[in-house]
Symmetry: C2
Subunit: 204 residues, 2 copies
DNA sequence: TATAGCCCTATCCCTAAGCATAGGATATTG
DNA sequence: CAATATCCTATGCTTAGGGATAGGGCTATA
């Protein structure tokens, strides 16, 4: 029987979901409620045949959280499951090596068939997320430093303050703000903050 | 048999959840996948004994979405259910007339008992959300105009741009930005945007 | 009618943000 | 080694954001 791990911090959602998948009778399901717990489970129980990762759980980021999980799971399929899904995010997830992207808006029966498909090595993405695949829309790669600055922006800090925290000059922060805004295609810091949140780029 | 309406845009979550509650054998459960659909259901089928409203669904805002639902449902209990729950938000929901606040992190069995409690006219809130009840932390009331400006801020627009859209002078926007930032206790527009998103004050 | 809340405007001011350009210091890697 | 990427700094500039203060007009309501 195939082993599946579901990682989601919402007990209510995760457990009813795990129940539902178990009731299909074909899978054994384990659970985790954070990224750390997820990695622990994998290390303890060995690689799973499929890992379903919630996009908005403690410790989860894109792409790092996904990459860590893939590595820990010996590159067995890992799919992202999310409620607040944008096509852009879906593409980022797939580009980073996810085997699938499952919005929580899909029907339960569809989920089961998606799981079967993923277990047999397939890639699953709903049509609507592939249709809007406008060309040249790369997943922006932010450097560690840029992420530091982005974190500060998201907390509403001023450049000067971020500079103090990171122990660099204010001009340097301005530089990072400019470049990361370009990469995110944001028109200013506020926009960048909102985009960052949409994309789950940061984690407090 | 008590009638319950669950409104959540995530089919997967809503349906597995509805199943779970139905399996308790005490309730009949209807579903809606947006605020509008929720209001429609109430108008068509009459008031429900309990409505569970997802916090992050199309059309949902606090407090307006909640108030509309309460009104439509003849003030029968309406509870908010949310994944991204902050104590602050919980307090805002309760202050606006919600009968309860159910984070999606609660255990499924706890949910059932909470539902029973709500149906008998009680108020349900997890302890942790009441404990951190620091005094004097009012739910900020933003005027319609302030919400308009806030929407613009969240889209990364400049004051000048917002002014053009709303057909007023730029100074007016600055005024609104200042006052709404005060009300939200934000240090600047970026911070205000993040807080607004946390509190679900805005909807595109 | 008086009070209060909301909305709009004006003027003055200072600081923060953002852009461009240029250069130096490290690392890593083909 | 040369190429690349990242990070930091500097100078100079323009515009945007944010704050204080002081009005006027409107509407609902006590």
């Amino acid at each position: 029987m195939k082993k599946i791990l579901i990682a989601d911090d919402h007990d209510l959602v995760r457990e009813t979901l795990a129940d539902y998948i178990r009731n299909a009778g074909e899978f054994s399901v384990d659970q985790a409620s954070s990224l750390d717990e997820c990695l622990d489970q994998i290390h303890q129980n060995g690689a799973y045949d499929l890992v379903l990762l919630d996009f908005t759980m403690p410790g989860m980021t894109l792409p790092d959280g996904l990459l860590h999980t893939l590595e820990a799971n010996s590159n067995h399929p890992v799919a992202i499951i999310s409620g607040t899904a944008s096509p852009e995010t879906a593409r980022r997830a797939l580009a980073s090596g996810a085997a699938g992207f499952l919005p929580k808006t899909i029907a339960p029966e569809t989920l089961i068939s998606a799981v079967r498909h993923l277990l047999s090595g397939g890639i699953y993405t709903p049509q609507q997320f592939l249709e809007s695949e406008k060309g040249g829309d790369h997943a922006p790669h932010l450097t560690p430093r840029e992420l530091d600055v982005l974190r500060g922006i998201c907390e509403g800090k001023a450049n000067k303050e971020i500079a103090r925290d990171l122990e660099v000059q204010e001009v340097t922060i301005k530089l990072h703000v400019k470049t990361l805004s370009r990469k995110l295609q944001a028109r200013n810091r506020t926009h960048a903050a909102m985009i960052a949140r949409d994309m789950n780029l940061i984690w407090p």
